[in-house]
């Protein structure tokens, strides 16, 4: 009994130490962002700032024309939302066919899709850049959105889900004279809501946090999404960490809010798939 008690105390000590290490950088980011510039590097340090100001936020939002962070925010929001809806539409349609319909070449095609899941993103970096260049799409929203819609992960995820659904309702609707698209839209899609939400969250976050591709495919400050935009913020403000932390915070808020609202689905989706952004 004593031993079990000791073990429990030890568990608490370890878990609390880890939690402290995990929280500290986040707290420090927020605290630095809220400090006046003179206090940012003051010793001894204040984890909780004595004097709170929103100057850093004001400065990077309204007073830095070379790093238009509001515009970046809009870009990120637009690109991530558009990507998410396109992926959901395109992937659920395709997945339904791979799961439920019979057609020539189905297995070969699906096998081909699955094989490309192993291909790392760096493979397509240069060719896709040159394709966008040829299309005149460098520095455009299409270039930021379309390559993400090509991914096959969502097709795989949705197909697994459709296969797991009972097909009696769909068969009944078929006998009643519904066509395949009606069956898909009216019956199958509503049942797949949990998978759609999981895939939507996964896609939104992956798109919001994408770094390498948007970094190379955008070259004007106003077309950058937030994630690669922070790189510009960094080279613009160097060691003004109050402003940099405000930027890091702004870019983190939307995904954190979405995560809190949809936590249940998020965790389910990850357990379902094991994938990350």
């Amino acid at each position: 009994m004593q031993r079990e008690k000791n073990l429990r105390i030890l568990t608490y000590i370890i878990v609390i130490s880890f939690a402290a290490i995990w929280i500290l950088p986040l707290l420090w980011m927020l605290s630095t962002a809220l400090k006046p510039e003179s206090q940012v590097i003051a010793w001894p340090i204040e984890i909780i700032p004595k004097e709170v100001t929103f100057d850093n936020f004001y400065d990077i939002i309204f007073d830095s024309p070379r790093t238009p962070i509001l515009r970046w925010f809009f870009n990120s929001f637009f690109v991530s939302t558009a990507t998410t809806f396109l992926v959901l539409a395109v992937d659920s349609l395709a997945a339904y066919a791979y799961a439920r319909l019979e057609f020539k070449g189905k297995n070969v095609l699906f096998w081909l899709l699955m094989a490309t899941m192993m291909v790392p993103p760096v493979t397509n970096l240069i060719p896709n850049y040159l394709i966008m260049d040829r299309l005149g799409w460098i520095d455009s929203y299409q270039a930021l959105i379309f390559p993400q819609v090509a991914a096959v992960f969502g097709v795989f995820l949705m197909r697994q889900f459709f296969i797991g659904l009972p097909s009696e309702l769909e068969d009944a609707a078929y006998i009643d004279g519904c066509n395949r698209f009606q069956i898909f839209y009216i019956i199958a899609l509503p049942m797949a809501k949990p998978a759609l939400i999981a895939l939507g969250l996964f896609t939104f976050r992956a798109s919001w946090n994408a770094f390498l591709w948007p970094l190379i495919i955008t070259n004007s400050a106003k077309m950058r999404p937030l994630t690669p935009g922070l790189r510009l913020l960094q080279s613009n403000f160097m060691t003004e960490f109050g402003k940099l932390m405000a930027g890091a915070f702004i870019s983190a808020v939307p995904v954190i809010i979405i995560f809190i609202i949809a936590q249940k689905y998020f965790v389910k989706g990850i357990a379902l798939t094991g994938m990350k952004g």
Binding site: E4, R8, T11, V15, F18, A19, I21, W22, I23, L26, W28, M29, I41, W43, A89, V90, L93, A94, A97, F103, K106, L109, L112, M118, V119, P120, P121, V122, T123, N124, L125, I126, P127, N128, Y129, L130, D133, F146, P147, V149, A150, V152, R180, F181, N209, F211, T227, L230, R231, Q234, T239, A248, F249, S251, I256, F259, Q263, I270, A271, K276
Partner: protein, 296 residues
């Protein structure tokens, strides 16, 4: 007649939208990449002559710049994998066990460990550059409080590697935690009850029940983490710019530099293909080796 054709056509209508994107921006580029790698492809020059395997030869002949820097970058990437993967897997497992044990506020701890995972690489690296700042960073502040000297974390080789790994662990260990947690919760409770009746200690239960049951999860987590670590880019790009010198320049950073700073697209495409093959082979190899003794 028409209706019959339509019915045969339907499945293709379902898959076509995705196939268009897939073909244009995933399948075609893969082959286009090979084509580019066989040319002297410099965007500023009008001619892009076919040069066979010369771009690959450069990588495998000693003495060329590409040879020196590419292998340096590949070895650095490998180093990052070797340092980061064990830490990410073990700490992920430890966190999962902690938040699965009989403690209060499990949900809160779980959220705390998972929160960094949802941040972008630029947010995370900015936070840690501030934490690790050599003059005014929090880490050096703590070091000084403990009577240790400040460390130039990001501008000396060994501390730079430590910084990159620490940042990465803080960022993504929570993801592995969730995967392990799912694995832990799949272990049937009656196994533990039977072991308790037989008088097994907590450690024996862990060793003989928990660890063996987690084997498939561990395999999955290790392969995924290895592949992710091979794809490392943002952390060194933001935090060290590959420095000091080129000591933390990783493969994707060098490819990016060769393509978009040196404008040698052909050469960079060849490197991308070599690196991709490397990643694919390691992924398959690892999966084969580790799954050979997982039997279910």
């Amino acid at each position: 007649m028409f209706k019959k054709y339509l019915r045969k056509l339907t499945p293709y209508l379902f898959i076509t939208p995705h196939l268009i994107f897939f073909t244009a921006f995933l399948a075609f580029p893969a082959f286009y990449g090979i084509y580019i790698s066989l040319h002297k492809w410099e965007p500023l020059s009008f001619n892009k002559p076919f040069i066979g395997l010369a771009n690959y030869q450069k990588l495998f002949t000693s003495g060329t710049l590409q040879n020196r820097y590419f292998w340096n970058a590949l070895v650095n990437t490998l180093q990052f994998v070797i340092f980061s993967v064990p830490a990410l897997v073990l700490i992920g497992l430890l966190l999962a066990i902690l938040v699965d044990s009989k403690i209060k506020y499990k949900g809160l701890f779980r959220s705390i460990f998972y929160t960094p995972v949802i941040l972008s690489v630029t947010s995370v690296t900015l936070i840690w550059m501030w934490m690790l700042d050599s003059q005014t960073g929090l880490i050096n502040y703590f070091f000084n409080q403990l009577g240790l000297e400040s460390v130039a974390w990001l501008s000396r080789e060994t501390p730079a590697w430590i910084s990159l790994v620490v940042t990465t662990v803080w960022w993504t260990a929570g993801h592995n935690m969730l995967l392990f947690l799912a694995g832990l919760q799949d272990i049937p409770q009656h196994l533990y009850e039977a072991a308790k009746i037989d008088g097994a200690s907590i450690f024996e239960q862990f060793w003989y029940i928990t660890l063996p049951s987690l084997k498939p999860t561990t395999l999955f987590v290790t392969v995924m983490t290895t592949v992710a670590s091979f794809n490392v880019f943002g952390q060194p790009f933001m935090m060290t710019q590959g420095g000091p010198g080129r000591s933390t320049q990783v493969a994707i950073m060098y490819i990016q530099q060769e393509a978009f700073t040196n404008y040698k697209m052909g050469s960079a495409a060849a490197m991308a293909i070599v690196v991709s093959l490397f990643i694919i082979i390691i992924g398959i190899f690892q999966f084969k080796i580790m799954s050979s003794d997982v039997k279910y």
